[in-house]
């Protein structure tokens, strides 16, 4: 039977399964009312300020400092998480040792632990009289209530993203290429640095981008440890809360729009990274 004959003999029904209209309708209704309309309210709100007013409200020194702190520290945290995330993923995938499964499960702690709990725990730990803070204080290093506290909290919440993005890629990576490199006389470190790392680059960047995006928006785990000194250790999300408390809705929305735009750019970058990774396979 030819393909055309087959096509003609079956009556063209668009869907074999029932429930298309119901399920898609429910999905779109829910998505529109919970996500899209409220987000639209955010994007529209700063319009009342006009372009100049929008610019004026986000270019005050305090807002700029907060944005610089949130984005800058999130970038540093993403780099730290990528380095340690690579080491941890390597150890978890390649080595065998007792307690490995437990160590693996612990990685997800920052996902599972409510951010407020992480916040008060980190703050107490790194305060000048805390377990870690008192040791560092002897060397004159202060973490809690300084911008470095922001970095610690962002590193904490970002770690699972880098580890969990690398783990599956690393375990799928065949050993053949490493064997070939070894046969050709490369030392173990050369093999890791010049053969393995370049192949993992898309996954490393994806994990870093996710950790960065999470760090930029993070609120709960940071506000307790940061000390929240305006223009020094005050993060952008906290400034939104402050503006709301002063009933400056448009000003809060303006910062919110900047952060939303940043997360859109990150989403696009992540999609780009993923298609780059798919092409390299």
């Amino acid at each position: 039977m030819s393909a055309t004959g087959l096509k003609l003999s079956i009556p063209r029904s668009r869907h074999v399964l029932p429930g298309f209209r119901l399920s898609l309708g429910l999905t779109l209704f829910y998505l529109t009312s919970i996500v899209l309309i409220p987000l639209l309210a955010l994007v529209i709100r700063p319009i009342e300020l006009g372009f100049d007013g929008f610019w004026a409200s986000i270019s005050t020194p305090r807002v700029l400092a907060a944005l610089r702190l949130s984005f800058g520290m999130a970038l540093v945290a993403a780099v730290i998480d990528s380095v340690f995330g690579f080491i941890i993923a390597w150890v978890l995938v390649r080595y065998r040792f007792p307690g490995k499964a437990l160590l693996d499960a612990v990685i997800d702690l920052p996902f599972a632990l409510p951010t407020a709990v992480a916040g008060i725990a980190l703050s107490t730990l790194y305060a000048p009289n805390g377990w870690i803070g008192s040791i560092l204080a002897e060397y004159g290093i202060r973490i809690a209530y300084t911008p470095w506290g922001v970095l610690v909290a962002m590193t904490f919440i970002g770690l699972p993203f880098t580890v969990r993005t690398l783990q599956p890629v690393l375990s799928e990576l065949g050993l053949e290429i490493e064997e070939a490199a070894a046969t050709l006389g490369a030392t173990r470190l050369q093999t890791i640095a010049r053969v393995v790392l370049p192949m993992l680059m898309p996954a490393i960047l994806t994990g870093a981008a996710m950790a960065f995006a999470r760090g930029v928006g993070e609120y709960g785990s940071i506000i307790f440890i940061a000390g929240n000194i305006p223009a020094v250790s005050e993060i952008a999300p906290l400034l939104i809360v402050t503006k709301l408390e002063q009933y400056d809705y448009a000003g809060a929305a303006a910062i919110g729009v900047v952060m939303l735009a940043a997360s859109f750019v990150m989403l696009l970058a992540l999609n780009g990274l993923q298609s780059w990774a798919a092409k390299r396979r």
């Binding site: 029932p18 309210a41 941890i88 969990r164 070894a182 809705y249 809060a252």
Partner: protein
């Protein structure tokens, strides 16, 4: 095989395979990994329980029995009991429409469903203030009819729903995509109704994945801080959820109280992690998330 071949083979076995790291490197990377995890992740967890029991078990139990704490526990459970089932229904509907049918704009729809994950928690709360606040779109109208959304349970539920929106859908979509449509199509051809097709064919295939999604959704719903903080109004004993109550107690220097509620939330996180690890280990084939997040 000659004698010398055997000798060479025996000698070769004593050396590491070329893809195996030398012992010093293993020791170095292993201790860096374990040390980093211990200091960054485990120490805060240990501290929560130590501070909660700093003055023994009696103040811990007294802090739990505090009426405001009980009210916070009740509010958190109520909000999760509304938000999680609604997001479960949405997740199933979204996954059914996306994986069982073809329509234009599907990829875009999946991106939109994932959107709440990339929005800052504070922004997630802010958007509802802009819609329902006194200065917002529907605020004045709602005030005329005496309907309270913000600084009340509905606002807390909405903010919780927004931040936990993608969890179930995100787990089910890749899982149901992998499973294809043939089983459901066979059931439909044999005359099963849509509902019984779902109940008897689809649900048994996705039940562990569904449970996994609900588990993560529930953990986040009970633990959400930023979004709920913006919409709740922080009324002690009335609109304070457990994480908000932790903040309130901590800022009023009631450390035992703060860490007691924090310890309850940490226990919840540990139970979630244990169940999650169990599901990933026991039902790895029936989860989409077993090797990703």
């Amino acid at each position: 095989m000659t004698q010398s071949h055997l000798q060479i083979a025996a000698r070769a076995r004593r050396f590491n395979r070329p893809t195996e790291d030398p012992l010093w490197l293993k020791a170095l990377l292993g201790s860096v990994a374990i040390g980093f995890i211990a200091i960054l992740l485990l120490l805060p967890l240990v501290l929560v329980f130590k501070e909660a029991f700093a003055q023994g078990a009696a103040p811990f139990l007294a802090a739990i029995a505090e009426p405001d704490t009980l009210a916070a526990v009740k509010l958190s459970l109520t909000a999760a009991a509304i938000a999680v089932p609604l997001n479960t229904v949405f997740g199933i509907a979204a996954a059914w429409s996306i994986t069982k049918f073809d329509f234009p704009g599907k990829t875009f729809l999946v991106t939109l469903i994932d959107l709440p994950f990339s929005v800052s928690p504070v922004v997630s709360g802010l958007i509802y203030v802009l819609v329902f606040g006194m200065n917002g779109w529907f605020g004045p109208a709602l005030a005329d009819y005496n309907v309270r959304i913000l600084f009340a349970l509905p606002g807390i539920v909405l903010a919780t729903m927004f931040v936990t929106f993608p969890f179930v859908a995100r787990e089910l979509i890749p899982l149901m995509m992998d499973q294809g449509r043939s089983e459901e199509e066979a059931a439909a051809t044999l005359g099963a109704s849509g509902f019984s097709t779902f109940l008897r064919v689809t649900l048994p295939n996705i039940k562990w994945g569904l449970l996994y999604g609900i588990l993560l959704c529930n953990a986040r719903a009970l633990g959400e801080f930023g979004a709920v903080s913006v919409v709740s109004g922080h009324i002690r004993g009335a609109t304070n959820t457990m994480p908000l109550h932790v903040e309130l107690l901590y800022n009023s220097y009631d450390y035992v109280g703060a860490f007691t509620v924090a310890a309850l939330l940490a226990m919840l996180a540990l139970i979630t992690l244990a169940l999650k690890s169990f599901l990933e280990w026991r039902y790895a084939d029936e989860l989409a998330a077993s090797h990703r997040h």
